[in-house]
Subunit: 206 residues, 2 copies
């Protein structure tokens, strides 16, 4: 059976944003305790040899909390640690090729920034997409200008896949984001940069 | 049947070293015409999306010349383009894990710099190793101080695997390198930086 997209709170890692007093793994563990249901390991500057121990720790943590683990970009690493899926960005291997590599079982998530990209991801066999940035983010340089709630709503209406809203989403804005039709919310800073990732996560989960 | 290590001249790519008037692919094609029997795609700074078209072009070229294609580091890319193998460096996934991912069919080459590393590669299921740098190389900063012919001979004597000598090997030195017990020679600069990669390769092949 293919993995279902059975999560709403999707945490994307960035160890450079982890608040003082936490390691990446302790922050992720706190987030899982707070209600995060899926984690994407995304540390683009690390070589495979350094990603592997991180991926294994996150595999243990996510399994213990009944959460999903996805690996950014490296399909080989996802297979190696028995992750639940891979997440592809614009510089990753094409979605259709990755789908052939991983078979029907593994989740394939794709980062998108337009309705056209969402359609292409669906055609090529993705299971879900992230869409953003919805709002301005501290990491906005990497994600482009904010798209706004209007564009998010349009993207969700036109999408055959679950859409996870990404970018600058705070707990206060989470409700309106979900009302726009998003299947869930993808978070980095709001959880990892918070000194209390557990309570930050549980606010979103609520 | 597992792929045999049936080559002696092993070209490792570095598009930054390609001589004026050549693209990486035209230089590799000329090298194949000159007698190179295996090619490793190694462009560490390129993301997967940019490696893929290069890997596909090299797959076509190597197939047409009856040569092997290996992909550096990215096992997923090797599987995607039906390469003959992968080549692992110190920052790659561990050899034993990669062997489990690719099965017995694909070649697994490993970069080594000591007899201990060669033994470990053999234990973990590698098919062959590169050993070096034998001589000082233009890219010596990346490979450490030269080991010399003595160390190469010792490495070859103690190795259960074919050893490819790497680093600063010129056509003049090729004969003594082979007399040291090397199974073959791995080359970057001597072929790619030569304005005539075909004749450079055929000198080595002879």
């Amino acid at each position: 059976m293919p993995n279902p997209v059975d999560f709403k709170l999707y945490l994307i890692t960035d160890r450079t944003q982890v608040a003082a007093g936490h390691t990446l793994c302790s922050a992720v563990e706190a987030a899982l305790q707070g209600g995060v249901q899926a984690v994407q390991l995304r540390e683009k500057d690390l070589p495979a040899a350094e990603l592997l121990p991180l991926a294994r720790q996150l595999r243990d943590l996510t399994r213990r909390h009944g959460a999903r683990l996805l690996i950014n970009d490296r399909v080989d690493l996802a297979l190696a640690v028995h992750a639940d899926g891979v997440h592809l960005g614009g510089r990753s291997l094409p979605t259709d090729l990755v789908r052939r590599l991983v078979g029907p079982e593994l989740l394939v998530g794709v980062s998108t920034h337009s309705c056209a990209e969402i359609s292409r991801a669906a055609e090529q066999g993705a299971d879900f997409v992230t869409f953003g940035p919805v709002f301005a983010t501290p990491s906005k340089a990497a994600f482009g200008p904010p798209q706004g709630l209007e564009a998010l709503a349009e993207a969700c209406r036109g999408s055959a896949l679950p859409v996870f809203a990404l970018g600058g989403i705070t707990a206060e804005r989470a409700a309106e984001v979900m009302r726009s039709g998003a299947a869930g919310i993808a978070l980095i800073t709001a959880i990892l940069a918070n000194p209390d990732p557990r309570s930050a996560s549980s606010t979103f989960a609520a």
